[in-house]
C-alpha cells in the first residue's frame, strides 16, 4: 500500500532535511559553543544592580511572588517544630488602615490614569457583584423548565421542587442539555441520580445491566481499581477475581498476564529479598521488582538470574516463554542487562550461531548498529565496540558508527579500502601524534603501492 511513486524517491533522495542535523559534531554546534565562550568571556562588573536582576529565593522563585510565599509558609511550619502552630507573623502589616481600605480608595490612590473604557467596564462588572441575588423569591417555584434552566445559568435563585414527576425531570434535563451548559446538566442529573440511589435495588439492576451490556470501558474501570490496592497479596487476589469478567478476547489475555506476572513477582521478591548470592552483594538491588512491567522483570531476571534453568520462575527463559516475548525483544533486553554487567562473553554468545560446518558466525534480529549503540551506552571498551562495528552491514552506518565511537582501525581500513587519501589526512589530524593509529595512517600514506583516488 505504500509503494513509492518515482517523485517520492526523488524527493527522499534530495536533501530537504539535510540542512540541519541534531548532531553535536555539526559545525553549527561548535559555533554555538564558541558564542558561549565569547559571551562568558565578556567581563561584566560584578556589582549587579539590584533593580536589574530579579531577586530570587533559593528555589529560584522570585522573592515576593505568591508561589514563593506559599513555600515560605510551608517551610516555616516544618522548621517550627517546637510549636504546634506557626508563628504569628510579626512583620509590620502593610495595610495599617485595616478594613477601611476599600476598593474605591484604592482606585483613587492609583497614579495611573484609568481609561474611560476601563471605568465603564468596572461599572458593568462591579455593581453586579454587589447586587443582591434575591429577586422574587416567591415565584421561583412556578417556573417552566426553560426559565428554570435560564435562571440556573445566570446564578439566580431557582427551585427544583416543582419537578417532581419523572416526566418533569426529564423535561428539565432536556432543556439543560439543549443549552450546552455542563454545569446545569450535572446539577439536574444529580437529582435524577439521587432518585436512583434512593432505590438500591434499581441501582444494582442498572449497574448489572451496564455490565451485561459488556461495556468494555466499564470493565476496565473496574480492573483499574487494583491500582488503589497497596498490599501486593490483595492486589494479586483482586486481579485473579478480574479473570472471570467478560473482557474482549484481546484484553482478557493481558489481564491474565497481569495476574500471572504479579504472582511470579511476589515469589521472586520473597526469595531475592533474602538472597545472598555473589551477584546480590556486588550489585545490591535498588528497588523491589513488584509491580514492574514485564520487560523490566525480564531485564531483572537477565541481570540476577541469568543461566538458571527454565524450570525456575525467575529464569529468563521461563519469563520469555510465559509471556510470549519475541526473539528481538529478548535479545535487546538480555543484551542490555549483560552489557551492564560487562559480561562480554555472554554478549557474544547471544549472537553466535553455528553454521553446518561448525563455524560460528554472528547474527542478530536487530541491526548491529543498534547493538553497538547499546554497548556504547553501557560503556563497552573499544575492542568490543570495534568487533560489532565491523558487523554493521550498511557501509555508511558502519563508517559513521566507527567515527562516533572512535574505532580508529575500522575508520582507517574503510578509508584505505575507499582509497580516500584526503579523508585519511583529515583523520590523522584528529589523532594524537605518534599514537599507533597515527603511525598506521602515516605508513599507509607512505605506501607507494596504493593507488589513491585523490
Amino acid at each position: 500500500m505504500t509503494r513509492a511513486k518515482p517523485e517520492d524517491d526523488e524527493y527522499w533522495n534530495s536533501s530537504k532535511f539535510k540542512a540541519f542535523t541534531f548532531d553535536d559534531e555539526d559545525d553549527e554546534f561548535s559555533q554555538l559553543k564558541e558564542s558561549k565562550r565569547a559571551v562568558n568571556s565578556i567581563l561584566v562588573d560584578e556589582d549587579e544592580d539590584e533593580d536589574d536582576v530579579e531577586r530570587v529565593s533559593w528555589s529560584g522563585e522570585p522573592v515576593g511572588s505568591i508561589s514563593w510565599s506559599v513555600k515560605e509558609t510551608a517551610s516555616s511550619i516544618r522548621s517550627g517544630s517546637e510549636q504546634s502552630f506557626p508563628k504569628i507573623d510579626t512583620t509590620p502589616s502593610l495595610s495599617k488602615q485595616g478594613s477601611g481600605y476599600s476598593l474605591s480608595s484604592l482606585f483613587k490612590a492609583k497614579s495611573k490614569p484609568v481609561t474611560e473604557a476601563f471605568r465603564k467596564i468596572q461599572a458593568t462588572y462591579a455593581p453586579e457583584l454587589r447586587k443582591p441575588k434575591s429577586d422574587g423569591k416567591d415565584f421561583v417555584s412556578d417556573l417552566s423548565p426553560e426559565e428554570t434552566v435560564r435562571r440556573m445559568q445566570k446564578g439566580r435563585p431557582f427551585s427544583l421542587e416543582k419537578f417532581r414527576s419523572l416526566q418533569d425531570k426529564l423535561l428539565l434535563l432536556d432543556e439543560a442539555v439543549a443549552v450546552y451548559d455542563g454545569n446545569v446538566i450535572t446539577a439536574v442529573s444529580q437529582i435524577l441520580f439521587r432518585e436512583l440511589m434512593a432505590r438500591d435495588v434499581a441501582l444494582r439492576h442498572y449497574v448489572h445491566y451496564l455490565k451485561e451490556m459488556g461495556e468494555q470501558k466499564l470493565l476496565l474501570m473496574h480492573y483499574k481499581e487494583h491500582l488503589n490496592i497497596k498490599d501486593e497479596g490483595r492486589r494479586r487476589d483482586f486481579l485473579k477475581s478480574c479473570l472471570s469478567l467478560p473482557f474482549s478476547q484481546d484484553d482478557a489475555t493481558h489481564v491474565q498476564d497481569h495476574y500471572t506476572l504479579l504472582e511470579r513477582q511476589i515469589i521472586i521478591e520473597a526469595s531475592d529479598k533474602k538472597a545472598d548470592a555473589e551477584i546480590f552483594k556486588k550489585f545490591p538491588r535498588k528497588a523491589s521488582i513488584l509491580n514492574m512491567p514485564i520487560i523490566t522483570t525480564l531485564y531483572y531476571s537477565c541481570f540476577y538470574h541469568y543461566g538458571e534453568s527454565e524450570g525456575t520462575f525467575s529464569s529468563p527463559s521461563n519469563i520469555r516463554k510465559t509471556f510470549r516475548i519475541s526473539e528481538k525483544q529478548y535479545i535487546l533486553t538480555a543484551l542490555g542487562a549483560r552489557a551492564k554487567l560487562k559480561s562480554w562473553f555472554d554478549v557474544d554468545s547471544l549472537f553466535n550461531t553455528k553454521n553446518w560446518l561448525g563455524y560460528t558466525k554472528k547474527k542478530s534480529p536487530i541491526g548491529f548498529h543498534r547493538v553497538v549503540d547499546i554497548l556504547h551506552k553501557n560503556s563497552a571498551p573499544v575492542q568490543v565496540l570495534q568487533e560489532y562495528v565491523n558487523l554493521i552491514d550498511d557501509p555508511d552506518l558502519k563508517l559513521s558508527g566507527a567515527l562516533k565511537y572512535k574505532c580508529h582501525d575500522v575508520v582507517i581500513n574503510t578509508y584505505r579500502d575507499l582509497k580516500d587519501r584526503q579523508q585519511l589526512i583529515v583523520y590523522r589530524e584528529k589523532l594524537e601524534r605518534d599514537s599507533p593509529e597515527y603511525r598506521k595512517i602515516q605508513e599507509l600514506l607512505n605506501n607507494v603501492q596504493i593507488r589513491w583516488k585523490n
Binding site: 561584566v44 508561589s67 495595610s95 484484553d251 506476572l261 528481538k328
Partner: protein
C-alpha cells in the same frame, strides 16, 4: 553586497549595493541593518553568507528612524538611504501590521475583582490556594497586594489536614468536587473540636452547582460562604490569552463533560465587552459550536455595547479537528523549549545545565525578553547563527569602553551599560538553553525520530516506521514518545491493521505496564489510536462505487460511510489542502516560504491551514469536501456589529482572534504569527491552555490511581 527583500508577490528582489563600498564599511552597514531590523521584523542573515542579507520590508520604518537618530558615517548613511528607498517600494504594497489591543486591562480587571472579594471577608485571614492557581495568580497580583487586604498567611491546597491559627479561612480554588469535600471535612473537624471560624470559598472562574451540592450533602452549606472570581482570561503575552484550564481537554473530549463550555463562552463575552464586538465568527467542531451558542445566549442577555471593535474576526476550533499537529515534535525555538523544559504560565525554569551554576532560575519568556522575542519563532537551526551574531555585537558594544575618556565612560554607563548587561544575561541564558537542548536531542537520536515522523506525515515507508516504533517500545525509551508515535501512525494511516494494532499494543503493555490497558481504551475512544474496523473495507467499496456515479452522489455516500466509521482522513486532507509540500527543491529554513517551516518544511499545521483558507474565502465555501472529511460541524456567522462600521478600513479588520478549544501548541502560534506577517494581519490566540504532545497524552493516561 547583496540586500534582498521579499515583495508581496513573494518573489525575491535583490538590491545590490555598489561593491566599491569598502569592506570595513560593508561590515558597518550590515551591523547597522541587523541592529535596526531585529525586533521590527526578523532579517535573515546567515554567517556563512556574509555578503547577503535578507530583509523584511516591515523593517523600513526602523531603518529610517535609526538613520535619523544615530550618526552613521556618511557613506554608510547614503547606502542605508538607498536600501530604505527600495524597501519603501516593497513596503507600500504591504500594510503596516496593526497594533494589538492592550490586554493588561484584563489583568487589572481580575485583580480588582479579587480585591473586592477579599474585602467581603474583612479582618485577618489565611488564604489557601489551589496549586494550579498559584502561577496565574502570580501574574496578576503579588503578596503585597494580598497582605494589603489582610491576608495573613498563604497556603497551597494539598488535601491534607491543615495547620492554621486564623479565625478566618479563605479558599481560592477551581470548582472541583474533591477540593470542596476536603474543605467540608475541615469544617466538620472544626465543629467536632468546638472551634469557631469563618470560611469562604472563592471559586474561579465560576462555581458549579455540583460543588454547592457537596457542601449541602456534607452539612456545611450555611457555615461556608461562596463566591465567584471571574478570572476567565490570563494574558500570557501580547498575543496569547489563556484560560489556564488544562483539564478542559480531557473533560470535554474524553469524558464528554460540557461543564467548561459556558466558561469559554463567558471568556468571549468578556473580550467582547472590553474590546468591542466582532463582525464575523467562523468555527469548526462540536465544542466550538456549543461555545458559540453559549456566547450568543450570554450576549443576547446582556446589554449591547456599541464600541469601536478592536478586532473583527473570530475563529473557533476544536482540538480534535487536528490531533496531528500537537503530536509532532516541535522544532521552533519556543516550542522546543516547551517540549524540553515545559513552559508554565509563560515562565520556564532553567536548571543548572543551562545556567552553568549550581542553581536553577525561573525566567519569564515573552516579548519583553529582547533576545527571546527574536528567536522564539525561528526554526532551531537558525538560532545558533543568530545567537553568535548577537554575541559578536555585544562584544563590540562592550569593546567601545576601551579608549574612552571619563566623560564618555560616564555617558556609556548611564545610557548603555544597563541595557548591555541585561542583554548579556539573556544571551547567555538562551545560549545555555540551546546548548542543553542540543545535548538532550542528540542523546535521544532526535534526527532518527524526526525522520520517522516525517515519513509518517508523508505516508512513506510505513513498514520501516513501524519497525522503528517497535524498537522504540522494545528498548523502553520514553513511554510518552512511544505513545506519540503510535498515535501519529494510527491517525495518518486511518487506524492500524488489526495484526499491527494487537502486536504493538501487546509490546507496549509489556514494556510500560499492563495497567495501560485503560490508556489504550481512552485513545481508542478519542480516535487517536485505533484498530481498522470492518468498516474500513467500506472505503474500498466507496471508491469502486464512486467510479460508477457522479461526484455529488459520491459525496453523499462518503457522508453515509463516515458516519459508520469515524476516520481521521488525514491522507486525503493532506492531499487536498497540500499540507505536505511536495516539491523536491531544498527548503530554506532561513527564508520560510510557508507555515511548513515550523516543522522543518515537512508539514503545514492542519489547524492553521484551515484558518488561512477560511479567512481567504471569508467562509467555508468551496471547502465542502474538507469539512466533510473533518466530520462537519463548521459554521460562519456574521456578527452583531453594524456593517458600515465593520466595512471601515480600521486596523481592527486585520486582527483575528483564534480560540483553540482543548489547547494550542507554540508551533501553531508561530505558524499563525508567520501567516499574519505574510498577510499583513495579526492573530491573537485564545486557548484553554498551552499544550504539546506530552501534555496532550498525559491527560489521557490512566495508569495510576
Amino acid at each position: 553586497m547583496l540586500i534582498s527583500y521579499q515583495k508581496k508577490n513573494k518573489k525575491k528582489h535583490h538590491h545590490l549595493i555598489s561593491s566599491q563600498l569598502h569592506s570595513s564599511l560593508q561590515k558597518e552597514l550590515l551591523q547597522f541593518l541587523l541592529e535596526c531590523c531585529v525586533g521590527a521584523a526578523e532579517p535573515f542573515y546567515h554567517p556563512r553568507r556574509p555578503h547577503e542579507v535578507f530583509l523584511n520590508p516591515f523593517c523600513r520604518p526602523a531603518c529610517q528612524h535609526r538613520c535619523k537618530t544615530r550618526s552613521a558615517s556618511s557613506q554608510v548613511y547614503s547606502a542605508v538611504q538607498s536600501v530604505v528607498g527600495s524597501l519603501h517600494m516593497a513596503h507600500t504594497e504591504w500594510k503596516d501590521a496593526p497594533g494589538l489591543p492592550d490586554f493588561s486591562l484584563l489583568k487589572r480587571l481580575a485583580r480588582d475583582q479579587l480585591i473586592f472579594l477579599l474585602e467581603q471577608l474583612p479582618g485577618k485571614k489565611d488564604l489557601f490556594i489551589d496549586a494550579d492557581l498559584m502561577s496565574p495568580l502570580d501574574r496578576i497580583a503579588n503578596v503585597t497586594i494580598l497582605k494589603q487586604h489582610e491576608v495573613d498567611k498563604l497556603y497551597k491546597v494539598e488535601l491534607k489536614p491543615i495547620v492554621s491559627s486564623s479565625d478566618q479561612l479563605c479558599f481560592l480554588i477551581r470548582p472541583r468536587i474533591q477540593t470542596v469535600k476536603w474543605i467540608s471535612d475541615l469544617v466538620n473537624a472544626d465543629k467536632v473540636a468546638g472551634r469557631f471560624r469563618r470560611y469562604k470559598i472563592i471559586f474561579t472562574p465560576q462555581k458549579f452547582y455540583a460543588c454547592e451540592t457537596v457542601l449541602e450533602e456534607q452539612g456545611v452549606y450555611g457555615d461556608v460562604t461562596t463566591d465567584e472570581w471571574n478570572f476567565y482570561i490570563l494574558p500570557l503575552d501580547d498575543d496569547i490569552l489563556s484560560l489556564e484550564l488544562p483539564e478542559f481537554f480531557r473533560d470535554n473530549f474524553l469524558e464528554g463533560d460540557q461543564r467548561w463550555v459556558t466558561t469559554a463562552g463567558s471568556a468571549l463575552r468578556l473580550l467582547q465587552s472590553v474590546y468591542g464586538s466582532f463582525s464575523k465568527v467562523y468555527g469548526i467542531g462540536r465544542c466550538a459550536k456549543m461555545v458559540y451558542e453559549s456566547w450568543r445566549e450570554l450576549m443576547e442577555d446582556g446589554e449591547q455595547r456599541t464600541r469601536q471593535p478592536e478586532f473583527a474576526k473570530v475563529f473557533l476550533v476544536d482540538r480534535d479537528v487536528d490531533f496531528v499537529t500537537p503530536l509532532c515534535s516541535q522544532v521552533v525555538y519556543e516550542g522546543l523549549v516547551d517540549d524540553l523544559f515545559r513552559i508554565k504560565c509563560g515562565s520556564v525554569e532553567f536548571g543548572p545545565d543551562v545556567t552553568s551554576s549550581d542553581k536553577s532560575i525561573k525566567v519569564m519568556l515573552n516579548s519583553q525578553d529582547k533576545v527571546f522575542s527574536e528567536i522564539r519563532n525561528e526554526h532551531f537551526s537558525n538560532v545558533f547563527g543568530f545567537l553568535s551574531q548577537k554575541a559578536k555585537n555585544l562584544q563590540t558594544a562592550y569593546d567601545k569602553r576601551r579608549g574612552m575618556d571619563i566623560q564618555q565612560m560616564k555617558a556609556f554607563v548611564a545610557d548603555e551599560l544597563k541595557g548591555l548587561k541585561q542583554e548579556h544575561r539573556l544571551l547567555s541564558l538562551h545560549i545555555g538553553a540551546s546548548e542543553s537542548m542540543m545535548k538532550k536531542k542528540t542523546k535521544q537520536d532526535f534526527q532518527e525520530l524526526l525522520k520517522t515522523e516525517h515519513s509518517l506525515l508523508e505516508g512513506f515507508e510505513i513498514r520501516e516506521c513501524i519497525t522503528y516504533i517497535e524498537e522504540h517500545i522494545n528498548r523502553q525509551v520514553s513511554m510518552i514518545d512511544s505513545l506519540r508515535l503510535l498515535c501519529l501512525l494510527s491517525i495518518t494511516e486511518n487506524g492500524l491493521l488489526s495484526k499491527d494494532y494487537r502486536s504493538l499494543k501487546a509490546q507496549y503493555l509489556q514494556s510500560y505496564g499492563i495497567e495501560h490497558l485503560l490508556t489504550f481504551a481512552n485513545l481508542r475512544q478519542l480516535g487517536l489510536l485505533e484498530e481498522q474496523q470492518a468498516g474500513e473495507t467500506l472505503t474500498v467499496m466507496e471508491s469502486k462505487v464512486g467510479k460508477l456515479v457522479n461526484d455529488k452522489t459520491v459525496g453523499k455516500l462518503t457522508d453515509a460511510f463516515s458516519s459508520l466509521a469515524k476516520k481521521s482522513n488525514f491522507r486525503a486532507l493532506s492531499k487536498r489542502l497540500a499540507l505536505v509540500p511536495k516539491s523536491g527543491e531544498e527548503y530554506d529554513l532561513r527564508v520560510p516560504r510557508d507555515m511548513a517551516y515550523v516543522f522543518s518544511g515537512a508539514y503545514i499545521p492542519l489547524s492553521c491551514k484551515l484558518i488561512e483558507q477560511v479567512l481567504e474565502r471569508d467562509g467555508w465555501t468551496g471547502m465542502e469536501e474538507v469539512t466533510r472529511m473533518l466530520n462537519g460541524q463548521e459554521f460562519a456567522v456574521t456578527g452583531g456589529s453594524s456593517s458600515s462600521e465593520a466595512r471601515s478600513k480600521t486596523d481592527a479588520q486585520r486582527i483575528v482572534l483564534v480560540m483553540f478549544l482543548g489547547g494550542c501548541t507554540f508551533s501553531e502560534i508561530s505558524a499563525l504569527r508567520f501567516l499574519g506577517k505574510e498577510r499583513g494581519c495579526r492573530f491573537i490566540v485564545v486557548t484553554t491552555a498551552i499544550t504539546n504532545s506530552s501534555r496532550l497524552l498525559e491527560a489521557l493516561l490512566d495508569n495510576s490511581a
